[in-house]
Symmetry: C2
Subunit: 191 residues, 2 copies
């Protein structure tokens, strides 16, 4: 009996993520979303409930995709290989709406106003750190990382460096490739 929606929900979330990622939370108005997603306000609110709710879905998908990407790299290149490939991949890929990490951007934009989306971004960052720590742990067990190092500590530092790299890559006129290479090369010295 029910009529199906005219739009592909997954596709809409993808396009919403691209907009939010590039322009940020406050920088993306409902008018922007309506135009890009080709959805009228009534349908929008029936489908998603609020701007914040759609942003949360976009953020979740961003985090899921990031985790999936890291796992794929690990399956292909091994733990250390994945961590070395990631910086270069970020700098070189110019299909993304922005170079900077959407989680970092959201955290910085909304943390100062105690917005719950900032907490959500931080939670996703923590999950990512955990995944990175597991890779360092595997690398350590494989002998690619010296026993004196703490995987979680390495992960936190690595994630911090990556956030810096991605801001640098976002800046106009800055070539972040050398920084990416240095981060990757730095991992060689952990043996």
């Amino acid at each position: 009996m029910p009529r199906k929606p005219d739009f592909d929900r997954d596709d809409v979330i993808d396009r919403a993520r691209a907009l939010f990622w590039r322009r940020g939370w406050a920088g993306t108005s409902l008018k922007d979303l309506e135009e890009t997603l080709k959805i009228k306000p009534g349908s929008f609110y029936a489908a998603f409930g609020s701007k914040d709710a759609l942003f949360a879905l976009a953020l979740d998908r961003y985090a899921d995709d990031s985790l999936g990407n890291l796992r794929r790299l690990a399956a292909e290149h091994g733990p250390i290989g994945a961590l070395q490939a990631l910086p270069q991949q970020i700098v070189e890929n110019d299909c993304t709406p922005a170079k900077a990490c959407m989680l970092s951007k959201t955290l910085l934009e909304l943390q100062g106003r105690d917005h719950r989306l900032a907490t959500k971004a931080n939670d996703h960052l923590l999950a990512m750190e955990k995944e990175i720590a597991q890779l360092f742990d595997q690398a350590q067990k494989a002998g690619d990382v010296g026993a004196s190092h703490d995987p979680q500590h390495l992960a936190r530092r690595y994630q911090s460096d990556l956030m810096g790299l991605r801001i640098s890559a976002e800046r106009p006129g800055i070539d972040a490739a050398p920084i990416a290479k240095e981060i990757a090369d730095g991992l060689e010295k952990l043996r």
Copy 2:
């Protein structure tokens, strides 16, 4: 003959900077500014012209203070000593409105919308990079940094690491002190 303004312009800019720094550009409304600065809209626009103009003044002051701080550290600890002291100083100082760099925050918030304040933030970051590069250059001439290194390259990497550190320090539940120490210790290995 003219009547003097009731408020101290410098003090107002300082308080505006604190607000903008913490809450960001879009996150700070004129109502917020009026309440914090105790200035009514008429006086505000007579004195500063626009929200953007005051933000620009706040950003300039932030950049000036950051440069001044780095130079002061250099005078006290020498080039490498200053670069080693800076990360710890950032992490430990809890008087600032935010741990993250105001220039980074502004860049990330407004770059995606091609706002001129994003360009201004990037210009200030470039000036800062130049100052850092000079310190690396001095350190190199003093023998504290090996001849094979490029000061500007070192500066760019250092600045990137610092931006990452400052985002990490902004995150709730994250102790950024170990990262700060690692950045400082890493400079020892440049000889």
